[in-house]
């Protein structure tokens, strides 16, 4: 399971699968129950469930006849943890960008002031010639 994280991200990239997961967050459900809110064939739902199962996001109970699906939290936590780190990385970068833009603006306004002064000087000079 080298690319477990990739599989989890891939499984989460689909709106139907996310909906299935959020349904399972409130408790076990059978495949029929899970299929109910979607205008989808049972084989289509089964396909989604297989993807989720392969990503380790759900488990199906073997004992019960109706084999309910259950949410497995660990891979979700891994993904959430990674995203949280990534967010902090960007928050930090954006803090620096914010600071840097202030710096650029200060320089820019200074340049503009000195350019305006030059213009004024030139203006005075040409006026003097007339």
């Amino acid at each position: 399971m080298e690319d477990q994280l990739s599989q989890t991200f891939g499984a989460l990239a689909d709106p139907t699968r996310r909906a299935i997961l959020s349904r399972l967050a409130s408790g076990e459900a059978s495949v029929t129950e899970l299929a109910e809110p979607f205008a989808m064939s049972m084989p289509a739902i089964s396909k989604h469930l297989k993807v989720l199962e392969r990503a380790g996001l759900i488990a199906r109970t073997r004992e019960a006849q109706w084999r309910p699906c259950r949410l497995q939290a660990a891979p979700l936590q891994a993904v959430a943890g990674w995203v949280e780190h990534y967010r902090r990385y960007w928050d930090e970068s954006f803090d620096r960008l914010d600071e840097y833009l202030r710096e650029l603006k200060r320089k820019d306004s200074k340049n503009r002031v000195s350019k305006n002064k030059e213009k004024e000087k030139k203006h005075v000079r040409t006026q003097g010639k007339d």
């Binding site: 780190h85 840097y100 603006k105």
Partner: protein, 181 residues
């Protein structure tokens, strides 16, 4: 916001993002876009606190490459490469970036969509990121990186504390220390 654009784009078959960050910057949109697309500017802010970018090359055109070496305060270098997917000056940037391990293999690929919206002289920036690939190493990578910057903040804090403590006795040597920082 130009979210509707993202949906119609061919590079984004899926509307869902793993991470969305929105920030308002007190600068005109052209300037913010410039800060994202000119190497000399990007090198000044890319990466967490205390990081520097000894290598920063951006070839800003569709298909153009990105190469950035981020250097953590503890000296560790984090190389990354990327490629621009879409450039719509000054509104939008789409690129795929990959963090590389020591052999140059990608540990994670992230599709990033950055939109720049004008907001009365300010700029609302929205960054949407979707993970395309992430190996098991990806987790340690970010954690290590984070340790690099939080540690350096710690050290800076301690350094400042020690300056405070010795302020009264040796004020001239402190000035020198501060120059080094």
């Amino acid at each position: 916001m130009s979210a509707h654009k993202a949906k119609t784009s061919s590079t984004m078959p899926c509307s869902e993002w793993d991470l969305v960050i929105t920030r308002v910057f007190d600068a005109p949109r052209e300037l913010v876009f410039k800060a994202w697309t000119e190497s000399k500017h990007v090198a000044q802010w890319w990466g967490p606190t205390g990081f520097t970018n000894p290598l920063c090359e951006l070839d800003v055109r569709v298909g153009g490459t990105i190469r950035i070496d981020m250097r953590a305060p503890n000296g560790v270098v984090y190389p990354m490469k990327g490629v621009f997917d879409e450039i719509d000056e000054p509104e939008r940037l789409v690129f795929i970036s990959s963090a590389l391990d020591e052999k140059g293999n990608s540990m994670f690929d992230v599709l990033t969509n950055v939109t720049f919206a004008e907001q009365g002289g300010k700029t609302e920036l929205t960054m949407q990121a979707r993970v395309i690939k992430a190996t098991a190493q990806a987790q340690q990578y970010l954690q290590g990186m984070e340790a690099g910057w939080t540690l350096s903040l710690d050290r800076l804090g301690k350094h400042l504390d020690s300056i405070q403590e010795s302020k009264s006795s040796t004020s001239s040597s402190i000035d020198k220390q501060e120059e080094h920082m």
